[in-house]
């Protein structure tokens, strides 16, 4: 044990370690990379510390972790990009004989696009909107490959065909905004691959896209880079996706690599408690179970003289917080954990789902049809639904399937063109303003983006007390305060947040407040519109835990709309699959996921990457 305790990095260890391949076999060799953010007061905040990474030739290396762990920062710094608010405190990034971190800007320009390419998360923002695709594609090719005229055109068309853009000749004349999100990302990939780079850096290239589009693009990417023999750094928060396409995975926490190695081994036999916790936070379709969040929050900067994860780690010991922990080899991977040798590898299975007692029908929707504009086709076309007390109904579908509109119509925000909504046998008026007060309190809507659903100029206290005053029997000050505290306890937030403004809270905390606001009205039915889609997987897990516990305690029914099938698999008793405004399949969730009848449901299911779970359980 003593030998581990010396401060050290993987680079000082022998070349026999799995990660320290020789420079000949490496496409990109990152050594001792340490980065800091320059804060507004010009102080430095170290966010990446001593990262050693070897990108082998022709491999896909996945970089995974929660937001703020430094994965995107590393990916950009690794190709020599220095944004003004980042300072490189040390390290090297060798691309062949060139250290990208010490090259002058002019030399980097000859390398970027030619030998190293980058694809950003949002292609719509990364591609110049005022240039035609042809021009966008021509610049790097002319500059680096020197192709002109007919040869250039033929090459462009070939590129567009490779990324499966229909009618490439017409596409060359069009602009970025004329393509869908998925197509835009494929165009960005075509541009990145146009000069046959040695190294390709992908920063969350499919995040924010539909599950099916995501699956299509990641499969396409994998095919292309394998054909070209490009070495890829793939940054993502999605462990399951990386498991499906990456050769090796590096798990990042607080600016350090905590576990790195063969993708299958890292996922099937994770040894770092953080990697395991990430897997327990990810819902699964094949082995459905209750997820569990990671308590606490990741630190905002690197931690020295202790294990950065110790504060949240159930396995931590005194020794963990007294020293820097080194990356040690285990099997075909490296782990930064003092106890990695003692603890059995493998992630625990998800906790079994509890059956919830279900009561009478509370909400009944019949043949609902909604138009945004009368003259064009309806957004929702005749959807019916019965929700029982205590039950969760899942609605899945791609964006544009009408699932959010359906929720808004139930909430009375968009009066339906035809069809009925009944609450406990009473018909509900189409517009919320015509519904009596009690009915308005009984249906509560929770939104996707907590940044936009909480008024930035109101304190949490006034945000939460408003629905209470509107929909509950008159409470005196002391009762109201007691009720506020009960709500905060329910969403596991300290009472001090009552005086805070939303901007002072994290995304997950804001979403908890949004949930608390819905429960403040003492509702019978919750309408949840993609409420975890904007959150990290570990934060999503805690939010779902809270939602499930509160709904069960209070016997509240939930209609949960999501494009994430695994979340629906976990939450819902009954599932509706929507497409183009209509329900294509509905039934008990287990049946829909195991024996889907409709072709479209099968397509959706085929697009899901699931994490394999070993049955080895940690004690």
């Amino acid at each position: 044990m003593g030998a581990w305790m010396t401060i050290d990095t993987a680079s000082t260890m022998a070349a026999s370690l799995p990660d320290t391949a020789t420079q000949d076999g490496a496409a990109l060799l990152i050594r001792g990379l340490t980065l800091a953010y320059v804060m507004p007061d010009n102080s430095l905040n170290e966010v990446v510390r001593d990262v050693d990474l070897t990108l082998r030739r022709g491999e896909i290396l996945g970089l995974v972790g929660e937001s703020g762990c430094g994965k995107s920062t590393i990916a950009l710094a690794a190709i020599g990009y220095r944004s003004p608010d980042i300072q490189v405190l040390g390290g090297e990034a060798w691309l062949g004989k060139d250290d990208l971190l010490s090259l002058p800007r002019a030399a980097l320009r000859a390398i970027w696009g030619r030998r190293v390419a980058f694809v950003a998360q949002q292609a719509a923002l990364a591609l110049n909107p005022s240039l035609q695709i042809g021009q966008l594609l021509a610049d790097p090719i002319k500059r680096h490959l020197g192709l002109e005229g007919e040869a250039l055109r033929r090459y462009q068309i070939e590129l567009l065909q490779r990324v499966e853009i229909a009618d490439p000749e017409i596409a060359l004349k069009r602009y970025v905004f004329q393509f869908s999100g998925g197509q835009q990302q494929r165009l960005a990939i075509a541009i990145a691959l146009s000069c046959r780079p040695e190294v390709l850096v992908l920063d969350e290239p499919t995040t924010g896209l539909d599950a099916t589009t995501q699956a299509h693009i990641s499969t396409l990417l994998e095919t292309l880079v394998r054909e070209d023999g490009v070495s890829v750094i793939y940054v993502s928060h999605d462990l399951a996706l990386l498991h499906a396409i990456a050769d090796r995975i590096a798990v990042m926490y607080a600016g350090q690599i905590v576990e790195v190695g063969d993708a299958h081994e890292v996922v099937q036999a994770p040894r770092h408690p953080y990697t395991r916790a990430l897997m327990l936070a990810a819902p699964s379709i094949e082995t459905p179970g209750m997820v569990s969040g990671i308590p606490g929050r990741p630190p905002l900067s690197t931690v020295r003289g202790a294990c950065a994860y110790a504060a949240r780690c159930p396995e931590s010991r005194d020794a963990c917080v007294r020293q820097d922990i080194a990356l040690e080899p285990y099997g075909r991977h490296l782990v930064r954990c003092l106890r990695a040798g003692e603890l059995p590898p493998g992630a625990a299975a998800l906790a079994p789902l509890k059956a919830v007692p279900v009561g009478d029908v509370v909400l009944s929707v019949r043949d609902l049809v909604c138009h945004y504009v009368r003259t064009i086709a309806p957004t929702v076309r005749g959807v019916s639904l019965d929700v029982r007390q205590g039950e969760t109904i899942g609605i899945i579908g791609e964006s544009g399937s009408g699932k959010s509109t359906f929720l808004r119509a139930i909430a009375g925000l968009l009066p339906p063109t035809s069809g009925t909504v009944e609450f406990r046998g009473q018909p509900l008026a189409g517009a919320v303003s015509s519904r009596p007060r009690a009915q308005r309190g009984d249906l509560q809507l929770i939104f996707q983006n907590p940044d936009s659903s909480l008024n930035p100029r109101q304190t949490v206290g006034s945000i939460l007390s408003r629905p209470m005053r509107l929909f509950r029997d008159r409470l005196d000050r002391a009762q109201e305060h007691a009720e506020l505290e009960r709500l905060l306890d329910g969403v596991q937030l300290p009472r001090a947040v009552l005086q805070r403004y939303p901007a002072e809270l994290s995304g997950g905390q804001k979403q908890r407040i949004a949930i608390a606001r819905a429960f403040a009205a003492n509702p019978a039915v919750l309408l949840c519109d993609e409420i975890t889609s904007a959150l990290d997987v570990s934060v999503q897990a805690s939010i779902l835990e809270i939602l499930v516990r509160l709904s069960n305690e209070r016997g509240v029914a939930t209609v949960f709309v999501s494009h994430d099938l695994a979340v629906i698999r976990m939450l819902a008793r009954t599932t509706l699959v929507m497409r183009d405004g209509a329900v294509v399949e509905a039934g008990p969730t287990a049946d829909i996921f195991t024996t889907p009848r409709h072709e479209y449901t099968r397509t959706l299911l085929a697009a899901v990457h699931d994490l394999p779970r070993s049955e080895v359980s940690s004690p």
Binding site: G296, A310, L413, R440, S453, A496, E504, Q509
Partner: protein
């Protein structure tokens, strides 16, 4: 184990203490805001207290020789009619500030009110026409050249302070209205307004509690910026003989009347011109500091780190 628990800084505690920066803090924290504020206070003191401190009546002629050089009796010298320039300077700031202040207040109330109405109806399913109507009126009014509009009004109603206020307000209302409409639009489409609608809140509640607090900073910054322009515009009207009339000591008028004698008594032009410049620069610096506060990036820094 105990150590491990100690470094856990209260699980999921609120990010960091520290309020969202308030308007006043935003002003005093930035250099331009502080300079602007100080300058504006000095100018306000001159304009308000000046008439009381003036050693001579500002319109009394023949106090000294015409166009006399500065002396202890006449600090800034005298103008072509032998009036004391220092006294005229001290008493001439009132209309330069008051007319723009009234005009911009009126413009903000009328233009801003219409802007909020337009921005709000933009996001409502069956009220889109109202927004289009209001935007149409704004665009039509914006098409009229400002000086021409002022000329026509003053020709019609004569030169009086109410006419000036009305003319300037009419010119600025659609400009302020457009800004306010844009600010309203981005707030009205937020989910927290939708959430308020789903609770069945009244229009009054939504406007005063959800909407106005979130556009207030924009409106205040816009007000300060309009004031800058209005000060210059009103001074220009007086300079052209359309505003204050002789023998008033209005700064714009002073510049106009004394400009032929600029070589012999330059202070008669410089003093009021500097006054106008200082006033508008100070307002502009305040407006700039407020706009920086509006910049989401600066707000984020102040809020979470």
């Amino acid at each position: 184990m105990s150590n491990a628990l100690q470094i856990d800084v209260t699980a999921e505690a609120p990010a960091v203490a520290g309020r969202q920066p308030r308007l006043w803090t935003a002003l005093t924290a930035s250099t331009s805001g502080m300079v602007g504020l100080t300058l504006a206070l000095i100018m306000l003191a001159i304009i308000v207290l000046g008439p009381l401190l003036a050693p001579y009546p500002p319109t009394k002629i023949g106090l000294g020789l015409p166009n006399d050089a500065p002396s202890w009796a006449h600090l800034f010298g005298t103008d072509e009619l032998g009036r004391d320039i220092f006294s005229r300077f001290l008493s001439g700031g009132g209309s330069v500030l008051l007319v723009p202040l009234l005009a911009v207040t009126l413009a903000t109330l009328v233009g801003g009110g219409l802007g909020v109405l337009g921005g709000y109806s933009y996001a409502q399913p069956r009220l889109g026409w109202l927004d289009q109507l209001i935007s149409g009126i704004f665009n039509l009014a914006l098409g009229l050249p400002p000086l021409l509009l002022a000329l026509v009004l003053i020709a019609g109603f004569g030169t009086s302070r109410p006419t000036m206020v009305l003319a300037v307000a009419l010119i600025f209302a659609p400009r302020t209205g457009r800004i306010v409409r844009g600010a309203t639009q981005s707030v009205v489409t937020s989910d927290y307004v939708t959430a308020a609608q789903a609770r069945g809140e009244t229009l009054l509640y939504i406007l005063t509690r959800e909407l106005l607090p979130n556009i207030a900073t924009t409106v205040i910054a816009e007000f300060a910026l309009r004031m800058t322009w209005a000060v210059i515009f009103v001074a220009a009207l007086s300079f052209l003989g359309l505003g204050a009339q002789p023998p008033s000591s209005d700064w714009g008028l002073m510049v106009a009347q004394a400009r032929s004698f600029i070589t012999v008594s330059p202070l008669a032009v410089l003093a009021p011109a500097t006054g106008i410049a200082m006033l508008s620069v100070s307002l502009n610096l305040i407006a700039e500091a407020l706009s920086q506060h509006l910049d989401p990036a600066s707000r984020r820094r102040g809020a979470t780190l």
